[in-house]
């Protein structure tokens, strides 16, 4: 049996972290590492390694079937001077912010309407979710037909049925209407997500807050401004940030409707990346395009994760 005097000596022989480190890592740090290990391996294999390899490839001249040649920051520099790339960056921001802005307004309207006492509320909720549930490719292909200048249903309605226009509009063939069209489809597809998220948030606001505001003489606009909006603040931020990431990375809608045309008027970064990879088949440069998006998206992700952590702490 060990004596009291012997114990510190034996403990000192055992392999264990120094007292400061142990305090930081915890008493059961061995087990902790064991539990974290599988996840760490997965993150390294599925996220860190591909990302680092992609970052390396972006610094190379890489053509299909031949080994990469290191060229430093040449790809990034070249892209910075490429007018079509710069236009794609601008278009991406226009596409993203216009889409998210409209989705925010429509989503809020949808949520407010669905919280009011209307008949068939559940039916309307279900119907309004259809655009969100439908596969993007199917929606985009349908809109390709709807927007077709000669055979599309939209021009048919405007010209033949309602006689609003004397002649059909080339929705996808003019720079302005093409961008508006792809934004419209993105909004159509994305606003139910806003609406349903806001609806969940609205249902969590205690009725007493509205009653108290009414007693204080607040009208409907004031109640919305001073009760609804502050209560939904965190949901609005999280939904907007998530939607910003998704919209910024949206490929299918633009590619199917316009392929970035006409003349690059709707060219956005994901489509530009795709064309660089499979059209030009310059894989290093394609990855450089993708990585150019990283700072903007990283900002959004940092803000988003901060808000999510904060709301979790509460």
């Amino acid at each position: 049996m060990a004596t009291v005097a012997q114990l510190p000596v034996e403990r000192a022989r055992a392999p264990r972290p120094r007292a400061g480190l142990r305090r930081r890592l915890g008493a059961d740090w061995h087990l902790g590492y064991l539990f974290v290990l599988p996840m760490a391996i997965m993150v390294i294999a599925l996220v860190a390694y591909p990302f680092c390899y992609a970052a390396y490839l972006s610094l190379t001249r890489k053509y299909v079937g031949v080994p990469p040649v290191f060229v430093g920051f040449e790809n990034y520099v070249r892209l910075a001077y490429d007018g079509f790339f710069r236009r794609a960056v601008w278009n991406s921001f226009v596409f993203t912010f216009a889409s998210v802005g409209v989705k925010l307004v429509l989503g809020m309207v949808m949520a407010l309407v669905l919280t009011s006492r209307i008949r068939y509320r559940n039916l309307f909720t279900g119907l309004l979710l259809i655009p969100w549930v439908a596969p993007t490719v199917v929606s985009a292909l349908n809109f390709l037909w709807i927007f077709d200048a000669s055979l599309g249903v939209l021009n048919y309605l405007l010209v033949k049925v309602f006689r609003i226009l004397p002649q059909g509009v080339g929705w996808l063939s003019e720079a302005g209407t093409a961008m508006a069209s792809v934004i419209f489809v993105n909004v159509w597809r994305g606003f139910p997500f806003f609406g349903i998220s806001f609806l969940a948030g609205l249902k969590a606001i205690p009725g007493e807050l509205y009653e108290a505001a009414s007693v204080d003489g607040a009208n409907i606009v004031q109640r919305f401004r001073h009760v609804t909006l502050p209560s939904l603040r965190n949901i609005i931020i999280v939904v907007m940030l998530l939607s910003t990431i998704w919209t910024f990375n949206d490929f299918a809608i633009v590619y199917i409707l316009t392929k970035g045309g006409p003349g690059g008027a709707t060219q956005v970064l994901p489509v530009f990346t795709y064309e660089m990879a499979f059209g030009a088949q310059r894989l290093g440069e394609a990855i450089a395009v993708a990585l150019y998006m990283l700072p903007a998206l990283a900002m959004v992700i940092i803000v988003l994760s901060r808000y999510m952590r904060r709301s979790h702490a509460r």
Binding site: V64, G83, A149, V169, G170, W171, S173, G263, A265, E275
Partner: protein, 455 residues
Amino acid sequence: MTTDPRLRGIAAELDAGLIARREFLRKSAILTGGTAAGLAVLRGMASAQPKTKLRVWLFKSYVTGGNDILAKHVEAWAKERNVEPEFDWATFGDREQKFVAAIEAGNPPDVAEMNYQGPMRYKAALRDETKLAKDLAAARGGLLPYAARVVQFNGQYFGIARLAFGGGLHVRKDVLAEKGLKLPKVYDPDVIEVAKKCQDPAKDIWGFGQTLNRCDDGNGFMQNILWDYGGGAWDKDGKPALATSNLKANMAALQFAVDTIQKHKIQPPGVMGWNDASNNEAYMAGKLVSTNNGASLYYAMGAKKHPLFEKTQVILTPGGPAGSFVFAGAYNWGVFQKSKYHELAEDMIRWVEDEKRFEEYMKACSGQAGPVYKSRAEHPYWKSDPNYEGMLQNIMRSVWPGYPGPISPAAIEVQAQYMLCDMAGRMVTAGLSLEAALKEAHGRVEEVYKIRGGK
């Protein structure tokens, strides 16, 4: 008939009275039964042996009848050679993506049907098939000049030519006859005049349907029209020439292309938003009097028994002041270096390119399986329908990407990035001047030329 020597031995012993009849029967039963059982086991083992799998990528064109025949031919070959073919079909939309992904993953097919871009773009992963390509060509009177350019690089053949897509200007001959007009031969003034006289915008019927948008149809037209006016993206040495030595001709050509939309107004509104299928749909809906297209449009109308099938005349693609040029890409077979069964792949190519089999395929393709070999151009099939004549002549005079210089990786990339379409698109939709659009496009072409190491 040969008898087992052991059976002969015991028979001799029986004859000599060395063994009893019963003993003879016992021994012969063991011998024959054992042999039969052994053979059965061997046969079982042989049939359990897995067949060689050959990964074959075919191209799924809009001419579905041809696709079926080609698949049937490959299957028949596989049965004959006891091979299991593993088919995969690439389409216009996903062909290059599949090749890029498979090559980069180190898992390409054994053999694939590629378009004109394949030999130039994937030569690092393709086998040099010079011997087979030359053998097949020699037996068929030689390759047509455009096809010879497409499948080889520095004298090495990375593709074995198969066919070229036929096509031409599809014209509503009934409408022209009604107006007493002749078929157009050049774009300016023929096509413009015919279009103006035949169209009726109030009824949404337009004289000419030709997009300049980012798609293969737009690419083909833009390339042809530059050549028709004596210009082009490249000079004879294969150097960029859009806004240098070919500037004057290119200005005239680009102006004409844009004028069809903005000045002459012979194209439907929305034409700049079209994709490769849009003109087919508009033509079949009776909205167009003329449109350039591959034979797939003619095939589709025939297959659907469309009323416009009989009212359509397919003619030579119109030309310009410098002549009439058509871009044509030879479809071809590529055998990949990674293939363990390249001899089987070569054997399959010889089988499907057999003249009788190709004839069956060609007849199912309604003009789409144009000749790449001289002897195939003389086949009576091309005289069997007046519409095939125009398609054949288009193929016979076609040129390669990069013309009048050599075909090069840079020339292929300029096409693949739709740079000539963007040039026109920037004029039509962004209001760029003629000079600015050409200068911008020239800058892009030059950049590609530099990146590709001047090739």
